[in-house]
Amino acid sequence: SQQGEEDPQALSIQEGENATMNCSYKTSINNLQWYRQNSGRGLVHLILIRSNEREKHSGRLRVTLDTSKKSSSLLITASRAADTASYFCATDPVGGSTLGRLYFGRGTQLTVWP
């Protein structure tokens, strides 16, 4: 399977703490993307990191990519209750068609307690 797999499946932390989620994948990729889904809503694109990048920041989000280990991590710093959501990684595999097919993992459910 080309799907990414997130770890842990669920994460529960207090406001102000940092949240780290990991994603592993199996094939070479062009890029890896992270999405967020609030309960009962559609997914929202958060950040994209290309295969030639190692780290990327966007506000309180920090994404790293290690292509030798085929893994990525998403760090949310100083978490807030509003960060409570499911987070998915998605991979764009090398050799994939121009159809833009992404392979989504099953997600990490993050709960941030006030």
């Binding site: 062009n30 009962g40 559609g42 994209l48 998915f88 833009g100």
Partner: protein, 114 residues
């Protein structure tokens, strides 16, 4: 700016009844379009994708079908619903011919088959 609409937001249908879910995109042309299904607490399963009018590819065999009668309209249908068709259906689009294929999701349709 681009927007994506899905309707209805929720639907309760008896087994054996037909289904029609609609998705439309505004503010872009020639998008790639996708239908996903998400079971409770699970990841996304790609059902169909389309690169153009009447150009539909199916990922998994099932009793669902998709059509794209217009460039920015994507319809998911079934002639006879099964209990297993219950789930959260998401439509998404990405830019055709882009360098990276970020996907943009609609708000989803919650389908319950009774």
């Amino acid at each position: 700016s681009q927007t994506i609409h899905q309707w209805p937001a929720t639907l309760v249908q008896p087994v054996g009844s037909p289904l029609s879910l609609e998705c439309t995109v505004e503010g872009t042309s020639n998008p790639n379009l996708y239908w996903y299904r998400q079971a409770a607490g699970r990841g996304l399963q790609l059902l169909f994708y389309s690169i153009g009018i009447d150009q539909i590819s199916s990922e998994v065999p099932q009793n669902l079908s998709a059509s794209r009668p217009q460039d920015r309209q994507f319809i998911l249908s079934s002639k006879k619903l099964l209990l297993s068709d219950s789930g959260f259906y998401l439509c998404a689009w990405s830019q055709r011919g882009g360098i990276s294929y970020e996907q943009y999701f609609g708000p989803g349709t919650r389908l319950t088959v009774t």
